[in-house]
Each structure stands twice: as structure tokens, then as C-alpha cells.
């Protein structure tokens, strides 16, 4: 069976938007600026997406009405397509799978506000159509003419890794030859207020996109890495148990053990099972902030950059002396008991 390769990436983040700028920011140890606030949420700040370089990806007039969460995704997809050397999408043979946690909540809030305030007849239909959970996927598929399977998965923080799994499954079944995996989040008043009250900190917004291609398609730019295996599991209330299961499955499917892993990048509130021994474990969230479903894809993008330039590994870890960075695990879990992971191998 053909390998599934990551042939392009795109990133919109608080520290930089654009692949080269993101890599440079990681290398230079740039930290996100938690300097944005929302008036109704006192004492809390978030890190906004760096929009300085994304305007040229957003020139289409139809995007004026789109929520920020869609705009970030569209920009990230454009970067991934450019990175993969693709000037046009093979419409019928490309899938798009988008993972979201919160979706276009700002528009949902605005639309609902007009209902509650007593003037529902004045509510803009654009707010409604761009507030549905699949608005991000719809806008991306419209703009880039993607006519293969287009899905939105709403699965909490693990949405992007589950999206990756679904995309890999579509590729391996031969449904499509290429698949875009995207995650995007925006900060809205309602989400920021609630998460702050729940004790969630260091929130940020942004997006990431991966272009996955089956190896036998040919004509590929130098791929970053191979998706060796992926897994997702839920043991309600047992975060460690679920992580154990997904990691065991990932290692088993990849024909490796935990000793073969060079690095773990995780978004798990610091929770990792003890079997990850000897592998260096980090999160890049101290660089990117916490953007829920996007975290895991930021980790995969960072992994791709680590594979290309080991100095980035040194910058993230403080010290990394080995040039043999071959296998990285990206893991995500929540205290609800949901966990997901993927194993990446340098191409």
C-alpha cells in the first residue's frame, strides 16, 4: 500500500503566519503576545492570529462576509497548496477534512443576539450561513473548488487528529489521491468568557493546513514526512487510559515501540503515560498559545519543520544534540477521556 506523505503545510498563528516566518519565529524563540482583550472579560488576555501576511490569500470578494475562522483556514490552505507546488486543485480527486472545536461562534453569537434582543427579522442571513459548524469547510471547498469528500469533524481538541485519520483513510481506500487536513479557531466573546471562567488560559487563535498525498501520485515536491500510523480512542473519564490505548495502537501499527520515538509533541494538559520513556516530550503551545483543535496541527507543522531543520528542534527543546530525528509522535488528550495520536516519520 502506498505511503501517505505530508507534501505541503500552511500556518496562521500568533507568532507568525506563513511557513518561513513560522519556522523563523520558532528558531528565534519568539513568544506569543497575550495582549488582546475583550471588554466583557476582565483580567484575561488572548493572543490574536498574526494577520500581517495573510491578506494576499484573502483577496476574493466573497470572503468579505466570512468569519475570521474561515479566513484563517483559507489562508492556511493557500499556503499548503503553494508549499506543495500546486497551482490548482484536482477537484474530484481531492478531499478536505476540517477539524473544529468551537467553530464560527462569533457569528453565532451575533445572530442569536438579534433574536434575543427582539429583532430576529433583521438578522442577517449571512451571519447564519457563515455561523454553521461546516462554514469553514464550505468556504474552503468553494474557493479552491474541492469536489471530493468534504467533511467537518467536531470532536473537541482531538478534532484535527481525527480529521487526519479520516483523510488518511480516504487516501488509503483510493477514494481520492490528495487530501487537505485543516483546523481553525477564532476567539469570540462567548468562548473566551466561558473558557476563562473554566480556568483555561493562554488562549490563542489561528489555523493550520496539511496537504497529504499518496506516494504513487508522483510529481511531488520533497515531502516532509510520512504519516506512519494514527489512532483515536475514548474511555470516558480516563485520560491516561485512552492515551495508553492510542499510543499502543500507533506503535503497533507502525511496527515500532516507544523506544523508537525521538520526540513527543503533545497537547494533553501535561498528561502523558509513563510508557513514553526516553523520548523527549514537549509542547509548542508555549510558542503558539492554546487554540484547541489547531494545537495538534501546529505540532505536526512544527514536526515538519523539525525534520527539515534540526536547529528548530534545538530551539524548541533548548538542547538537541542528535541529528537522527526520525520519528515524532503528536498526541492530544482531554480529561473527558478522549485521546488521539499520530506517528510521523521523516521522509
Amino acid at each position: 500500500m502506498s505511503r501517505v506523505l505530508v507534501t505541503g503545510v500552511g500556518v496562521v498563528s500568533p507568532i507568525a503566519s506563513g511557513n518561513d516566518l513560522f519556522a523563523k519565529a520558532l528558531l528565534e524563540g519568539v513568544l506569543p503576545r497575550f495582549d488582546k482583550r475583550i471588554e466583557s472579560v476582565s483580567g484575561a488576555y488572548y493572543a490574536a492570529a498574526d494577520r500581517s501576511d495573510i491578506h494576499r490569500q484573502l483577496s476574493d470578494r466573497s470572503l468579505r462576509r466570512a468569519a475570521d475562522v474561515s479566513k484563517y483556514a483559507i489562508a492556511a490552505v493557500k499556503m499548503a497548496l503553494d508549499d506543495a507546488g500546486m497551482h490548482a486543485v484536482d477537484s474530484d480527486n481531492t478531499a478536505l477534512v476540517v477539524g473544529v472545536t468551537n467553530g464560527p461562534l462569533a457569528y453565532t453569537q451575533q445572530f442569536h443576539h438579534s433574536i434575543v434582543a427582539g429583532y430576529p427579522a433583521d438578522a442577517s442571513p449571512f451571519l447564519f450561513s457563515d455561523s454553521v459548524l461546516n462554514a469553514v469547510a464550505s468556504n474552503c471547498s468553494l474557493l479552491y473548488k474541492i469536489k471530493g469528500p468534504v467533511h467537518t469533524l467536531v470532536c473537541g481538541r482531538a478534532a484535527s487528529l481525527k480529521s487526519l485519520m479520516l483523510a488518511v483513510s480516504l487516501l488509503k481506500k483510493g477514494e481520492v489521491k490528495r487530501a487537505l487536513v485543516v483546523a481553525s479557531e477564532e476567539i469570540s466573546e462567548i468562548a473566551f468568557s466561558c473558557y476563562t471562567r473554566m480556568g483555561v488560559s493562554n488562549m490563542s487563535e489561528g489555523a493550520a493546513a496539511l496537504m497529504l498525498t499518496v506516494e504513487d501520485v508522483g510529481g511531488l515536491n520533497q515531502p516532509y514526512c510520512e504519516i506512519l500510523s494514527s489512532s483515536s480512542y475514548c474511555m470516558p473519564g480516563d485520560q491516561i487510559g485512552a492515551l495508553d490505548v492510542v499510543l499502543s495502537k500507533c506503535f503497533g501499527d507502525a511496527g515500532m515501540t516507544s523506544n523508537d520515538i525521538d520526540m513527543v509533541l503533545y497537547d494533553s494538559d501535561g498528561v502523558l503515560p509513563p510508557e513514553i520513556k526516553g523520548a523527549v516530550a514537549r509542547s509548542v503551545m508555549e510558542r503558539t498559545g492554546n487554540s484547541f483543535a489547531v494545537n495538534a496541527l501546529w505540532h505536526i507543522v512544527a514536526s515538519c519543520m523539525l525534520f527539515k531543520d534540526v536547529k528548530i528542534a534545538e530551539a524548541i527543546l533548548g538542547h538537541y544534540s542528535s541529528g537522527n530525528l526520525k520519528n515524532i509522535v503528536v498526541a492530544s488528550s482531554e480529561n473527558s477521556g478522549a485521546a488521539s495520536a499520530a506517528v510521523l516519520r521523516r521522509a
Binding site: 427579522a121 438578522a123 468553494l142 467537518t152 479520516l166 480512542y233 475514548c234
Partner: protein, 401 residues
């Protein structure tokens, strides 16, 4: 040789009632359960009518969760799941291996979200009760379902607008066929919320009169709420434990229009591809009945007729076709699941389902519309779902042999 995937249990809640018996009695009688909305003031909108599941208050079977902390969506989902598992002979003796939970929803726990937002507007965000949001996010219902049932496994929540339920079933079917799991609990759910009502109203998509799919004078859709859950099982596994097999899921296809954020591509080309993919996936059987998406909007029905004509050629005008949405409304994320269940029942009972309110054929929709329930030999059914953003999904179900 591909593994075969069979339906061993179904659970359903709609405005017709709770459970397959109550729903089937009304479906086969060609009754409508569309009534005046009671859960919010709909007098300011184009219509006051919807398929509200007034018969359903909450799930009485819940044992392991706090009922009052659950959104109505979870109640609908859990009750339907218990029905389906009981029907499959899997409750109270539960499945003791990992399962796949594959669900579709457009709103998740939106009613809780609305309550929270209303409270926040009166009291402030800092003082509105956070507990109202414990079941708001669209993935929470799946986790709560696993927790209530005492099960483990993977879960996926598809939110592809009106195609969500069919996407969820199709994905579960392909996963079981690939050998990933032996069991899947799949389907869809959505509640009737003012947010959605106002949304479709703002798009001028709601009918001010009746839901009349494929009728020349159709003028929009009627919303509804409910849940539909199917338990799918790998055939050999089901036979080994002596399960009653209701029918077989034999094909699934999906595409996207990439045309407009809300309107379908009128040509129906991509939708036709989804239909063709599903039929090819099923081994090219002859289709005996089409359970149409049939929302009764001008755009959808014309597009669907075009898609069926592309997929079937001249035969499109012969195959009996109907939409059950006039009876129970458009259930959004639950629509594909509830319509799949009605297709299962049509196969089991050899009965073509009626397309109510069809009086004046539309020459642009040259289909063989079933106007009243008719006995017929039904071996294979095609069920379509088409959603906002251009999501197209089709599934093929057939009598088990």
C-alpha cells in the same frame, strides 16, 4: 472479499413519536405530524409550524448521568441509542469490545447554548450559569453517550449540515467493512431551536404553507427535530450471536458541489456522482425505491431531480421516489439517519412510502412520485442527503440474503 455490514437495531424519535412502532404506524398511514411550534414563540416568523417531537420530554432510561445537566439533544440521542441496542439484543447485556460511535449533528446542544446566551444578555457573561454549557459543544453528546452506555471506542461527530446523518452512517459502514470494528452505533440527532428556525427564516427557506416536495408550487421546507440511531454489525459476527438482521448497508458515496454556501449546484452533477458512487459501491444493484432528500425548496428538488436523471437516465422517471419530510419535517443532522431507518422499514414491510402534499407535478422534476403508501417488492433502496455548503451523500440499503 469485502466484509458485509448489516443493520441489527434501530432507534428513532420524531414528531411521529418515540420508537419504531409508533413511527412506522404513522409513516405507513401517510399521516403528518407537523404542528404549531410550542417550544418558542414562532409567531414572528414566516411559519409557526414544525415537526416538534412533543411526545418526547426526556430519556427515562438514563442511569449513569445527571439528566438535568443534559441538553435535549443528549436525551434524544441516548433514548434512541437504548432503543437500537435493545432491538439488537445488546441491552442490558452490553457490547464488551470497542465500538465506533459515528454521529451527525448540525447543532449539538444548541438549546443549552441559547439558554446560556439569553442569561448572559440579562445578567452578563461573567454571571450566566456555566453549567448550562456542560452539554453544549457538539462532541459532548457522543462522550456522554459512551459514558452512559459504559462503552469505550472511537467517536466521530460529522457536522456537514443536512448530510451529516448519512455521512455518519456511511463512514461507520466503510469502517466496519474495512475490519476496523465489529459494531458501530451510528446516526444523527438535532433539536428544534429558535436559532435554526430564525436562520432558515432569514434565508427565506421556510415554507409559509405546507412542505410539498417536487410539487410545482413548492415554497420551502418545514423544520423538525429528532434522532435516528442504527446499530451496524459485521455480518459474521451478527450471525454468530444469533442477531436478527434487519437489512444490509451495501453502498455509500459522497461528493461536494463547491458551488455556493447555501444553494446546491442546480445541474446536480456532483450529487449525481455521489449517487453513482454509492450504487457502484453496492455492486450496481437495481434500485427499487428512492428515499429522496426532497426538502421542498425550489433549488433542492430541481437539483435532485437533475441528479437522479444524470445517474439513472430515462429510468429516473420510473423508479418510485418520495420524501418523508412532509410528515415529520427536515431533521437536519438527524434527517439522513431517520430517512435511512424509514428505508429499512420500507424494505422490511415491502411498502413504498408516501410523499405528502404532492398535487401538481413539476415538469422540471420528472420523477415517479409516490403519493400514497403502496405495497411493492422492495429489495434495494437509495437514500439521498444534500446539505448546505454542497455536501452530497447517498447510501444504498438492501434486503438481507
Amino acid at each position: 472479499m469485502k466484509r458485509r455490514v448489516v443493520v441489527v437495531g434501530i432507534g428513532i424519535i420524531t414528531s411521529h413519536g418515540v420508537g419504531q412502532d409508533e413511527n412506522w404506524q404513522k409513516i405507513k398511514s401517510g399521516l403528518s405530524s407537523i404542528s404549531e411550534v410550542s417550544c418558542f414563540d414562532a409567531s414572528i416568523y414566516r411559519t409557526r409550524f414544525a415537526g416538534e417531537a412533543k411526545c418526547f420530554k426526556e430519556c427515562d432510561s438514563i442511569r449513569n448521568l445527571k439528566k438535568r445537566r443534559l441538553d435535549r439533544a443528549s436525551h434524544l440521542l441516548i433514548d434512541s441509542a437504548y432503543q437500537a441496542l435493545s432491538h439488537a439484543g445488546l441491552y442490558p447485556d452490553m457490547i464488551n469490545e470497542p465500538v465506533l460511535v459515528s454521529l451527525g449533528t448540525t447543532l449539538g446542544g444548541m438549546i443549552s447554548g441559547e439558554q446560556f446566551h439569553k442569561e448572559a444578555m440579562v445578567k452578563s457573561f461573567a454571571r450566566a450559569r456555566l453549567s448550562l454549557l456542560s452539554d453544549y459543544m457538539a462532541h459532548n453528546q457522543s462522550i456522554k453517550l459512551l459514558a452512559e452506555l459504559g462503552l469505550e471506542g472511537n467517536f466521530l461527530v460529522f457536522s456537514n449540515a443536512c448530510a451529516s446523518g448519512t455521512n455518519a452512517i456511511g463512514h461507520a459502514f466503510h469502517s466496519l467493512r474495512a475490519g476496523d470494528y465489529n459494531f458501530a452505533i451510528c446516526g444523527g440527532y438535532d433539536t428544534l431551536s429558535e436559532f435554526t428556525f430564525a436562520g432558515f427564516n432569514s434565508l427565506m427557506a421556510l415554507s409559509p404553507s405546507l412542505c410539498k416536495p417536487f410539487d410545482k408550487n413548492r415554497d420551502g421546507l418545514v423544520l423538525g427535530e429528532g434522532a435516528g440511531i442504527l446499530v451496524l454489525e459485521e455480518e459474521g459476527h451478527a450471525l454468530k450471536r444469533g442477531a436478527e438482521i434487519l437489512c444490509e448497508v451495501s453502498g455509500y458515496g459522497e461528493t461536494s458541489d463547491a458551488y455556493h454556501i447555501t444553494r446546491p449546484d442546480p445541474c446536480g452533477t456532483s450529487a449525481a456522482k455521489a449517487i453513482t458512487k454509492a450504487i457502484n459501491d453496492a455492486g450496481n444493484p437495481s434500485i427499487d425505491y428512492i428515499n429522496a432528500h426532497g426538502t421542498a425548496t425550489k433549488y433542492n428538488d430541481a437539483m435532485e431531480a437533475n441528479a437522479l436523471t444524470i445517474a439513472f437516465g430515462e429510468r429516473a422517471g420510473d423508479i418510485p421516489t418520495s420524501s418523508i419530510k412532509p410528515m415529520i419535517g427536515h431533521l437536519l443532522g438527524a434527517a439522513g439517519a431517520v430517512e435511512a431507518i424509514s428505508s429499512v422499514l420500507a424494505i422490511r414491510n415491502n411498502l413504498l412510502l408516501p410523499n405528502l402534499n404532492f398535487k401538481s407535478p413539476d415538469p422540471e422534476c420528472n420523477l415517479n412520485i409516490v403519493q400514497s403508501p403502496i405495497a411493492a417488492d422492495i429489495e434495494t433502496v437509495l437514500s439521498n442527503s444534500f446539505g448546505f455548503g454542497g455536501a452530497n451523500a447517498s447510501i444504498v440499503l438492501r434486503s438481507y440474503r
